[in-house]
Symmetry: C2
Subunit: 186 residues, 2 copies
């Protein structure tokens, strides 16, 4: 068996120009040599990574409604958040679930990890499922505003049709949940 060559079409970095260092993302432009020898540039957003949780309580999934400034509207999404520096994704998933919804869970399982926009960003989201949940109190940051609700699979699919759910991680979670209900595994 031929080993997989993950670098077959490698674009070799000739130089990197740092454009912006923000609180959440940074931006750089790399000049690269393509496989044919031509020179090109690549605009690259660096992101610390994030976690998201498909949390199921009494056959309903927990969702949060919050304002998404890039879209200039509220969106309904599964609980999620960025990794703190050096934070283990599993710990981050437990933390975000508890902060945003009040529910805690000791037995989160990883469904999958995926890159959101591999063409221009390195953001990765680790998606977990939580099924044995203990109810508690949410504790949002002072500047965090959201509503929590729980919805059935039918409602989630209706929200998708209406565009109220329209982000990649939540749609992935809804499909994963549907597959789990149909087949017994993710």
């Amino acid at each position: 068996m031929t080993p997989i060559n993950h670098k077959k079409f490698e674009e070799v970095t000739l130089s990197t120009e740092s454009i912006f260092q923000g609180k959440i993302i940074s931006l750089q432009v790399d000049t690269v040599r393509l496989p044919n020898g031509n020179i090109a540039t690549r605009e690259i957003v660096k992101h610390p990574g994030a976690v998201a949780v498909l949390a199921i309580v009494d056959d309903r999934m927990l969702v949060v409604e919050q304002y998404r400034k890039p879209l200039e509207r509220n969106q309904i999404e599964i609980p999620a958040g960025k990794l703190d520096a050096g934070e283990d994704p599993l710990d981050a998933a437990k933390r975000e679930l508890e902060e945003e919804t009040g529910y805690s869970c000791d037995t989160l399982k990883l469904i999958s990890s995926f890159y959101t926009s591999p063409g221009f960003a390195d953001e990765i989201i680790h998606l977990y499922v939580a099924e044995q949940l203990i109810k508690g109190e949410a504790h949002l940051d002072e500047d965090e505003f959201l509503d929590v609700e729980s919805i059935t699979l039918d409602q989630a699919q209706q929200y998708m049709r209406e565009g109220r759910i329209s982000d990649a991680k939540t749609i992935t979670a809804v499909y994963a949940w549907q597959v789990y209900k149909l087949t017994g595994s993710f």
Copy 2:
């Protein structure tokens, strides 16, 4: 029934600083007033939007392997690409499918449109399914390098486990395909 308030937690823009205008993305930092009156900043990447196609030929999905500079490795993904200025997403989906794989299809159907990273970017991907495909010749740009292959659902799921498929649009497409096989609809 109470109308849905998509602006319930609105963050009002007080000023916008343009940081970068690239070939593909641009970056701005907005200063906003939060619902509690506090002031915050939001780092926002603007993107032209993209299309992706779940193209099924003889019960196999078409995928392309290409180098993703932000990840510094090859990835296996469904055919996809950015919208040209003013381009209709359906036209873009037909164009990208044909350019990257050589296959054409006149009956693409929209599965869903989703935002990849609504926390920091406005990128939307329109995901289509193509089932009646006509084989032709791929015609890549001079500076575009990729391999095309077709894989079964089992292989796609294996690639997901191996991390060779690990981007949001392709994972969404694999789940959608699995649901379609199980239920007859997306």
